[in-house]
């Protein structure tokens, strides 16, 4: 089932994590206590130019040495530390969360227009597929993911998320089905600047995964949410589709609607469906995708999962339930987005 919530302050005013912790707990009906997580943008202003790599270590001996060997080969570790946590009875610390502030050496990779990002992706693929006991689960600049197995309030307390201040927050309360409730399988998922929270199940996963893997991505997380992240990266970053059109590819209008559209809209929508058919996501889902510029929420084409939107001043909220938004503040306007229709909140420059 799962519960999701996201908020953006379009003026980049910082919000600490206390409110979203309450909002997510409000939706405990939708979870099972086996996974929860948060992502926040703007939390590392002192290291804003470094890639913040969050890693789960099973121990701090072999896996850490191997990861650091790879990192030192590809760039410079500016700073590293254990992510501050406080152990609670409700949450067993099965991994040690660690973070690196890392600068890749862009001269080491040729044949690409985005060497830094490609180095980071390469490092993630290598670590996550070949180093047992290490998992990089967050890798953007000035963004961080905090997740674990447990109830939202326990995970929030564990990571002390009230101590972080961000202008975009994402929260996810998990009821796992397809994969066991392990820490890596909790949401949000992150890749570079992108973070994703997802409620539902993608029935087209097999098609989407094979499509995305043909572009060199490797799915390592054993869950369908990962492909949303990679597809957003492919269509948004690599193919340059604006968010509205990327969402159109993921949850396109039905052919009946397209047939009735006037030109050139019809031509555009047909082109998107033909070109990005394998990126179409089927099955019940509500998804919020975020990057440092904003958030975008959308549901599947027949809205088999809930998504409600609300506004309060400069802030835009997206949530599975309206009640969760009310725990954060009283909204001025609440509405139900239509199936497949994206709701997008961008920061004002």
């Amino acid at each position: 089932m799962c519960g999701i919530i996201s908020v953006i302050d379009r003026e980049r005013n910082p919000m600490d994590g206390a409110a979203i912790r309450m909002a997510l707990s409000q939706m405990n009906e939708r979870g099972s206590g086996e996974g929860a997580g948060y992502a926040a943008y703007g939390i590392y202003p002192d290291f804003a130019d470094y890639y913040a790599l969050h890693v789960f270590y099973d121990n701090l001996v072999e896996p850490r040495a191997k990861v650091e060997q790879i990192l030192e080969k590809w760039g410079t570790i500016e700073h590293q530390e254990e992510i501050p946590t406080s152990e609670r009875p409700g949450l067993r610390k099965v991994h040690t969360p660690w973070r690196y502030f890392f600068r890749p050496d862009r001269t080491l990779l040729t044949g690409t227009t985005s060497p830094e990002e490609d180095i980071i992706i390469r490092i993630i693929n290598q670590v996550n597929t070949s180093i047992p006991g290490a998992l990089i689960f967050s890798s953007g600049k000035n963004v961080g993911v905090f997740k674990a197995s447990g109830w939202p309030e326990d995970v929030a307390n564990f990571y002390r998320i009230q101590d972080y201040e961000g202008y975009i927050w994402l929260g996810h309360n998990r009821y796992p089905t397809n994969t066991p409730g392990w820490w890596g399988g909790a949401h949000p998922f992150n890749l570079l600047d992108l973070s994703v929270i997802h409620n539902g199940e993608i029935t087209s996963y097999g098609t989407n995964r094979r499509y995305i893997e043909s572009y060199g991505y490797q799915c390592t997380m054993k869950t369908d949410t990962e492909v949303v992240t990679y597809l957003t990266d492919l269509l948004g970053r690599r193919h340059g589709l604006p968010p509205e059109l990327a969402v159109r590819a993921f949850a396109p209008p039905f052919w009946d609607e397209i047939d009735r559209m006037p030109e050139p809209e019809q031509r555009l929508n047909k082109a998107i469906r033909l070109t990005y058919g394998p990126a179409l996501m089927n099955g019940p889902f509500a998804i919020v995708v975020a990057n440092s510029d904003g958030i975008a929420g959308f549901t599947d084409r027949i809205k088999l999962r809930p998504l409600v939107a609300a506004e309060a001043g400069d802030r835009l909220y997206l949530s599975s339930e309206e009640s969760a938004i009310h725990r954060m503040e009283k909204p001025e306007r609440v509405w139900m987005p239509r199936a497949g229709e994206p709701v997008i909140g961008r920061v004002r420059r």
Partner: protein, 503 residues
């Protein structure tokens, strides 16, 4: 009856109590099984092909047929079929001809694949209440879209999409030529394709003018004999297909005997009346992949790049690499015909022994095209042994965009898969040019039967997709996670890239 001849294959009996001597069996049997002597209908079972025409037409259900009424001493190696082939060949010294598809007892992979359905965690979708999209576009797709901002800041699409065929169902009717089948059979198929929003192939037999009204739903074929090919033919088709090979007979050509080349067929194929129509094994202008690319480009140029061009190959060991080569040409679709594909006439040794199953061929082609990053740019059409809607769903889940059906469409018109197509005496009016037999097939009736079949399968496909929580065919395509293998060995599971049941 000559000494040493083989035992009868089928035994026909008549229930004399029921028989009213109406003589319909005599009229209907084009093979001459029945004759009237006095007030009794006599039977020559040896001539029977098991076409069931007499059984269907007998008003009293008085006729019964038994297969293999005479036993051979059983032997696991020296089966009846191999022994009979030897007796035949010892007598004739020739190549044994056969019809229809592969008749050897290979395992049928389709029957060892099972589909998935939703329970609890994701809802199934009811096609009666929710939209269910089976529309399929066959043709070249761009790798990515490019946009440009105009002066007003409006984002416009820069990429041009090449012409695609728009199918309302992923089921098309494969190429069966005028000559191999009758004009009435072709007319029925063409009317059905038009009614169901899909397409049919002309085969290598040209396009008879009676089919012109349906030309927007017809794919014209250019095969090694180039019969019937001229600019008018190419321009009439909705798409053009270059036939390199056929699943029932990979590596060899075709042969329409001169006695079948009637005045009408002569006009349509543009060959002299009564002359053998021989399609050579290779195209004499294609000796390598670049020659094929040239022909694709030539046909595109001739039709001003307005028509999709398909390339059809037989499923052989290396078909994945061949398909990758085809994908690098301007071709819009690769058609792969599995070793169970039908044929009007084919040497038995080829039909039963050469080529690979469509399931494995589609899986390996899809995978190869994906690893080369071009899968979505070219369409993959699967054919050869598609018997029911579940086969369509399974082969699409393995990676095909659409299918061609052949035998199934003929069966919808009455064909009983007797396998004697090459004899030209088809009592159902399908694989024959004899006017009295052809006139038995009424296009008004049979087109409806074929359309019913396509419609019925389409409904079933929609239900299967809905049960799997999928409302658009592109989310089924290559979605091998929704298949499981039942009693398939590990190697086969790896080739198909699927897991075993329960895994």
């Amino acid at each position: 009856m000559t000494l040493g001849s083989m035992p009868v294959r089928y035994r026909i009996t008549i229930d004399r109590d029921e028989c009213m001597l109406c003589g319909r069996c005599i009229e209907n049997c084009s093979y001459g099984v029945f004759r009237k002597e006095g007030d009794r209908i006599k039977i020559d079972s040896r001539k029977c092909t098991a076409c069931h025409r007499c059984i269907t037409m007998c008003p009293r259900d008085a006729i019964m047929m038994q297969e293999k009424p005479v036993d051979y001493r059983s032997h696991p190696l020296w089966t009846r079929d191999v022994r009979e082939a030897i007796y035949n060949q010892a007598r004739t010294g020739g190549i044994i001809l056969s019809g229809m598809g592969n008749a050897k007892k290979y395992p049928i992979i389709f029957d060892r694949l099972v589909l998935d359905a939703c329970q609890v965690t994701n809802p199934s979708i009811d096609p009666l209440r929710e939209p269910m999209e089976l529309r399929t576009y066959i043709g070249k797709k761009p790798e990515r879209l490019r946009f440009r901002k105009d002066t007003t800041g409006e984002i416009g699409l820069e990429t041009e999409i090449a012409p695609n065929l728009q199918l309302e169902t992923p089921i098309m009717i494969g190429h069966m030529s005028y000559g191999a089948i009758s004009l009435n059979a072709q007319l029925s198929l063409a009317q059905a394709a038009t009614a169901t929003g899909t397409f049919m192939g002309t085969g290598e037999g040209g396009l008879h003018k009676a089919l012109y009204p349906y030309q927007d739903h017809m794919i014209v074929q250019v095969a090694s004999g180039r019969f019937g090919v001229d600019i008018d033919y190419l321009e009439r088709g909705a798409a053009i297909e270059i036939k390199i090979g056929q699943g029932a007979k990979p590596g060899i050509g075709g042969h329409l005997p001169g006695e079948k080349v009637s005045p009408e067929i002569s006009r349509t194929r543009r060959i002299p009346e009564g002359s053998d129509a021989i399609s050579p094994a290779p195209h004499h202008d294609i000796y390598s992949i670049e020659d094929l690319a040239q022909l694709v480009r030539g046909l595109k140029e001739a039709t001003e790049w307005k028509k999709p061009v398909f390339v059809k190959i037989a499923a052989v060991h290396n078909s994945a690499a061949i398909a990758a080569g085809i994908a690098r040409s301007s071709a819009d679709a690769v058609v792969v015909d599995g070793f169970r594909g039908g044929s009007g006439a084919t040497p038995r040794v080829f039909r039963d022994n050469v080529g690979i199953p469509i399931e494995a061929a589609v899986a390996s082609i899809d995978e190869k095209l994906r690893t080369q990053g071009v899968r979505n740019e070219i369409s993959v059409i699967a054919s050869g042994g598609i018997r029911e809607s579940a086969d369509v769903a399974k082969v699409i889940a393995l990676g095909a965009d659409a299918v061609y059906i052949g035998t199934a469409a003929l069966a919808a018109m009455g064909c009983r898969v007797c396998g004697n197509c090459y004899r030209g005496l088809c009592p159902w009016g399908i694989a024959t040019q004899r006017p009295d037999l052809v006139s038995r097939l009424d296009p008004a009736v049979e087109s409806e039967h074929v359309a019913n079949l396509i419609g019925g399968w389409t409904h079933e496909l929609a239900e299967l997709m809905g049960a799997a929580g999928i409302n658009s065919i592109e989310s089924l395509r290559g979605n091998r996670d929704r298949l499981r293998g039942y009693m398939l060995d590990e190697n086969m599971l790896n080739v198909l890239d699927i897991r075993a049941v329960g895994a």
